[in-house]
Subunit: 495 residues, 2 copies
């Protein structure tokens, strides 16, 4: 093979950027977990400095020259190099349109907004968060203008989370999904009425929850030699290096399921992170394909594995050792209660049926925010009004309404729809894994998750960004993202 | 005032370096506290990258030009600018002598050595640590050669921790101290024989210890809005930014004093850090004067406040609320037991009398290591032999011998003597504070520490590196570092 010096230079440069970005991820993780309160302003300076540095390093003119040299060199189609060059080109073009000072301003504003959100949520006052949301929206619109778009600035933001996705298509998809979900919801909700909301409520000591969560996450395949679990307001998963993946969850001493399913969800993300090829760390081939693919991994482990009848048949006895209060329930009772379907306020605690309705609500609101149709001050009013239409419930306060999620405080718009894409992809991947791996359902019932993880490693994780999200789905499952596997799984469980 | 653009440029540059160095401190803190094991190698890469970057930024030719421009400009003697320029010159000359690749190599080697030390200490096998210590010594000698020295390479290393200190002078100082300490030790040890070593041994739940430590540290004046306490193998204190100071300690469920006095010690460092002038953060005026001054702050709070009779008279009732097992002792009994004098293996657990003997031992060994007189493989033998001479005890294993301290694993040689300088400075500062602040002893007896902290803020903390360590001592106490206040305090308590 003829060497291309531009490629070597690019590898060196993105290696340095990865060192800095992974450190930025530590600064963020620490801010959420252990940082003393008064350190906030300086932390924002640190984050702004590194994100600005990183942006400048990747958008420097020589990087453009190196990418051009690689393209002129012409790496063989299907080669590692060709895939990396294709993605570098895409990122470079996207990032060079944003001036470095805007990147820094955005980073600073979102660090401060995130803190304001924590406070606002604590006292349930949207007005405390409002100026920060306004600022972040304004910065997002400026970025969308720099990136350019055909139909709506929302498309430009969406592209940052899910390549090639378009607001109009999502709108159509969601309009198809909504009635099908509502149809499944009605009888499922009806049947769930016999299960009280607090059916599983009992004393679940936090230390016991932690021990159970850890045992389950390790059994699924999350590697604790290369990762850990901490406690935060909002669960998340972040990679701080090639062998350093950190999950977080939150604890409710009366409801073990909040932390357990938080961990199953984040461990799904974490196992994807741990399954990315380490030798490609810092390059597109070592990077997750998209948010919609990332979310498929969390939803697959959380819902298709963790909320199955087999899961509780296998785990009940073990769980009782950590949480003795579970002994008064049968596995079947826990399974039924865990899958109780009922409209509720908090997205991350929503059942599998209503979950996508939460996404549809957020998508509609943020689309209007980004398009400037909805003034920020009207968010709580619009949220509560739409929530009542969709769920038939009156939102009691902003903490259980428009302040519940961290995403907007991070300045992330266009992220929410990837959750529903994730649900669809999860069902479709699970269906394919069960078809392709002989005896898989039996293994899962026996609490043996290695074959499923291996199938995901091979068909999803190992690819990094070698394929576009839709190519990846097609290679793994034979088709691009469909609604049917998801609806079929819901019908099987809830109809 | 006529502006000096070189000074403005320097402020900007050291501001950026502070952003990066404080992030490096977070990478280090995280490595000690929460980082997953397998992340070690990448963490070493991150640290090496940032320390190399930082070194290059400060040693760049333009920095030399800016310092020169400041010197030519001639800031008024006694001004902030003059003090900063003086220290920048000193640091610049010191750092420009070390090539960037040696800085990076040292950073990488010490990150790996620190981990090897943790493992070696766990299994008490010096041989596992030996190659790392050899490597670090070799790198230290190379650095000493670059820095230059008159009499011994040790002086060049010492200079990094304590300005103007010389091995020959320390040797002389220690030779004067040793017999005076031995003289105090003999009768004190004799009297302590009536107190069993395990006199205070009982069940002290770790959660109770944590709560007590936190309450005491807050009462002394450590600001938890700008700091925190975590758990590590070896207690330390690190500043991660202008309002972010983190202490660590370790817990023994049968001996509360290990964690409590660890916290008092580190909180002394932490309050110094929190008392440095924030507006000068990142410049010499925002930086601690020296290690010997830093250590004076930890020893003052740990020993002169925390190990006093008055401390236990005030804290006993409060301590019992967190640790009920303490109720079976009187304050006097706790005070006596806490001040039990007996030769023992672990420096950080040593009583006030034998403590400096630990330092003398380490100083002699590291001096010979640095001078190449003692081969690294002979360290355990030499340690054990000298230990028996000084303390009359046979070292049972390396973990309780030459592997107990973290310092060498960090590549820090010439650091240990600053502990004894700290002891001397602590006694001298405490003596002056009591003379200068009317009613101070009464306030301390009542558990009111604000006046003492204020005196230290004014006379020590606020100065940063405005003065040399010895100038600072002279301004605060009327004399440079003396042995007499320390020996007098020991005699008062132990004679």
């Amino acid at each position: 093979m003829i060497e291309c010096s531009g490629y070597t230079e690019l590898l060196k440069r993105v290696g340095e950027i990865a060192l800095v970005d992974s450190t930025g991820a530590l600064l963020n993780w620490d801010e959420e977990t252990y940082m003393p309160r008064q350190a906030l302003n300086y932390r924002a300076e640190q984050l702004a400095y590194f994100s600005g540095w990183s942006h400048r390093q990747f958008t420097a003119p020589e990087v453009g020259d190196w990418i051009k040299a690689c393209e002129d060199h012409g790496f063989a189609e299907g080669s590692d190099e060709a895939a990396n060059v294709r993605e570098w080109r895409r990122d470079y073009d996207r990032q060079t349109r944003i001036p470095a000072d805007l990147v820094e301003e955005f980073s600073r504003a979102s660090a401060i907004a995130r803190d304001a959100w924590v406070e606002a949520r604590k006292v349930s006052q949207f007005s405390r968060f409002q100026p920060h949301l306004e600022k972040l929206l304004q910065l997002n619109r400026r970025m969308a203008d720099y990136w350019g778009y055909e139909r709506t600035p929302y498309d430009a933001l969406l592209e940052g989370h899910e390549r090639n996705a378009k607001a109009a298509e999502l709108k159509e998809l969601f309009e198809r999904l909504r009635p099908a979900i509502v149809e499944i919801l009605r009888p499922a909700y009806e049947r769930s009425r016999s299960i009280p909301e607090d059916y599983l409520e009992a004393d679940y000591p936090i230390e016991g929850q932690k021990a159970l969560n850890r045992e389950v996450a390790a059994a699924l395949g999350f590697d604790f030699e290369a990762g850990r679990i901490d406690t935060t307001t909002h669960p998340f998963c972040t990679g701080l290096g090639p062998r350093d993946c950190r999950l977080t969850t939150r604890y409710n001493p009366r409801d073990f399921s909040e932390s357990l399913y938080g961990v199953l969800h984040e461990a799904g993300h974490g196992m994807y992170d741990q399954g990315l090829p380490e030798e490609h760390y810092g390059t597109p081939l070592g990077h997750a394909a998209s948010m919609g693919i990332h979310e498929s991994q969390s939803r697959l482990w959380e819902n298709h594995v963790g909320r199955s009848r087999e899961f509780w048949e296998h785990w009940h006895a073990k769980a009782c050792r950590h949480l003795p209060a579970l002994a008064k329930f049968t596995p079947e009772q826990i399974h039924t209660a865990i899958n109780r379907v009922a409209p509720s306020f908090i997205r991350v605690e929503a059942d599998q049926v209503t979950y996508d309705l939460h996404i549809i609500l957020r998508f509609e609101i943020e689309l209007q925010l980004v398009e400037g149709i909805l003034p920020v001050k009207d968010v709580p009013g619009r949220w509560n009004e739409q929530f009542e239409k969709l769920f038939g419930l009156q939102v009691p306060d902003d903490a259980r309404g428009c302040l519940q999620d961290i995403h907007w405080s991070l300045g992330a718009f266009g992220y929410f729809p990837t959750y529903t894409l994730g649900n669809l992809n999860a069902a479709q991947l699970m269906e394919s894994a069960c078809k392709q791996v002989p005896g898989l359902t039996g293994e899962l019932a026996a609490g043996n998750y290695a074959s499923l993880l291996q199938w995901l490693r091979t068909n999803v994780h190992a690819a990094g960004q070698r394929h576009t999200p839709q190519e990846l789905m097609e290679k793994a499952t034979g088709a691009t993202t469909q609604t049917e596997p998801h609806l079929a799984a819901l019908r099987r469980k809830f109809a």
